[in-house]
C-alpha cells in the first residue's frame, strides 16, 4: 500500500463547476499538507499549504484536512479552463528532514 493515494483521473468537468480533488494517506504522523499544480511540461508550483487539520482558503481554492479520516481535499470554485493541469498532493511529518511524500497526481480537464 502506498503511503499516499491519489486518483490519477483524468477528471473532466464543465467550466464553472466546483471541483473536488482528494488524497488519502496511511501515516498518522503527517502534519504538513501541500497541494501543487503542474501544467504540462512545467515544474510544479505550490498552491496551498496547510498545517494539521482544518480549512484554508485562498481565492477560488480551499484546502481541507481531516486527520481523523486521513483524508485531504482541494476544492476549486468557479473552475476555469486555465485550471486544467495535474494537481499533486504532498505531505510530511515533523521530523521528515524536509522530505515530502507525494501523491501520483490527478489530471484535471475543465471543458469550456
Amino acid at each position: 500500500q502506498k503511503e499516499v493515494e491519489q486518483d490519477p483521473g483524468p477528471l473532466s468537468v464543465p467550466e464553472g463547476a466546483i471541483v473536488s480533488l482528494n488524497c488519502t494517506y496511511s501515516n498518522s504522523a503527517f502534519q504538513y499538507f501541500m497541494w501543487y499544480r503542474q501544467y504540462s511540461r512545467k515544474g510544479p508550483e505550490l498552491l496551498m499549504y496547510t498545517y494539521s487539520s482544518g480549512n484554508k482558503e485562498d481565492g477560488r481554492f480551499t484546502a481541507q484536512v481531516d486527520k481523523s479520516s486521513k483524508y485531504i481535499s482541494l476544492f476549486i470554485r468557479d473552475s476555469q479552463p486555465s485550471d486544467s493541469a495535474t494537481y499533486l498532493c504532498a505531505m510530511s511529518t515533523m521530523d521528515s528532514n524536509y522530505q515530502l511524500i507525494w501523491g501520483a497526481g490527478t489530471k484535471l480537464i475543465i471543458k469550456p
Binding site: Q6, P8, Y32, M34, Y36, R41, K42, G43, P44, E45, L46, Y49, Y51, L88, A90, S92, S96, Y98, Q99, L100, W102, G103, A104, G105
Partner: protein, 115 residues
Amino acid sequence: SQTIHQWPATLVQPVGSPLSLECTVEGTSNPNLYWYRQAAGRGLQLLFYSVGIGQISSEVPQNLSASRPQDRQFILSSKKLLLSDSGFYLCAWSGTPGKRQETQYFGPGTRLLVL
C-alpha cells in the same frame, strides 16, 4: 525574490553516454536542494537532497549521482545512461526565511530522452 534555473530544457542522449544537469538558485542563501524524477503520468520520485555544500543524501540506488560544489548550485550526473533514465528531471529548493522547510519550489525541469 528567489529564482531557480535548470538547463538544458530538453536533452536527447544515446544509451551509455554521460549526463550532466545543472540547477542554480538565486535570491537566497543556504537553501535545501532536491533532485526529483517524474516518469510520464507518475508522481515525483526523490533522487537526492542536500542541506549544504558537499552534503548529499541519496534516496534511490541507481547509476545517478549528485554534487553540490557551491551553495546555490546542484548538479545531477551519470557516467553511463540507461534507457530507464528517461524522464522529467526537476530541481527544487526550500528554506525561505520565515517559512517551513517543507515548502519546496521547483525549477522548469529538464526533459531527458535516452535512446
